[in-house]
Symmetry: C2
Subunit: 108 residues, 2 copies
DNA sequence: TCTTTTAATTGTGATATTGCAATATTACGT
DNA sequence: ACGTAATATTGCAATATCACAATTAAAAGA
């Protein structure tokens, strides 16, 4: 087959999987960390800092962007990225809820 | 290429990516939820509850097991799974640390 | 011993992901 | 208009993932 059978799972399970799948690559973890720690972080900055080719970084950025975690600001030739804190908090809450439920019920 | 260049990232980034990658499939999210909510949960239970074929469930279980998140108890013919709470807590702390750092520094 | 149950393993086809070179696009500077 | 810088897109090869049928392995019960 090769594709995930998403339809047999509920919305919350797919949401958790979607966010963690996006985080499931060290380059994307690193990109998010860089953006959160540096103002005026653009694609070139990330290419130099991380050491992957420009198309590769651009592609990872697109995947992060697709989850809604990034905000963009155009300044001249540059496209600066920042983290959408509301979206990040929402993801954090969903994951936290998952952890809480996975812990409480297991103590029965 | 096709493979991840893990060596250019640090241990923490790879650890976050490794755990979230494991969580990045709704079947594995569902399996973990089932195990945490039911005592005496075995492979067959999960096959019936989730609706994927036995080898598929077994394979997902193996991926979760490889991150160290599962404990096993043999009772007769059955192999019951439970969540390793220490491991889960460790993953939770690492992820929480990631969230905190991603939020605090972005407010500068 | 033979059958049944439980679960892991193997093999395979389909699809997705990773990474990059080459190219295209867009906008700024001259 | 032209050159340059920044980034996205395209195309491609290598590898990984997903799902399952068939098989194997191990243990329980008759």
């Amino acid at each position: 087959m090769g594709f995930t059978k998403k339809h047999i799972f509920d919305a919350q399970q797919n949401q958790i999987a979607s966010f963690t799948k996006m985080l499931g690559h060290p380059a994307r973890v690193s990109i998010i960390q860089h953006i959160s720690q540096n103002k005026n972080c653009n694609c070139n900055t990330l290419v130099k800092a991380i050491g992957l080719a420009q198309p590769t970084i651009s592609q990872h950025l697109a995947e992060i962007r697709n989850t809604g975690l990034l905000k963009q600001t155009v300044k001249g030739k540059n496209l600066f990225y920042s983290i959408d804190q509301d979206k990040l908090n929402a993801c954090r809450r969903v994951l936290n809820d998952f952890f809480v439920k996975t812990q409480i019920n297991s103590s029965k």
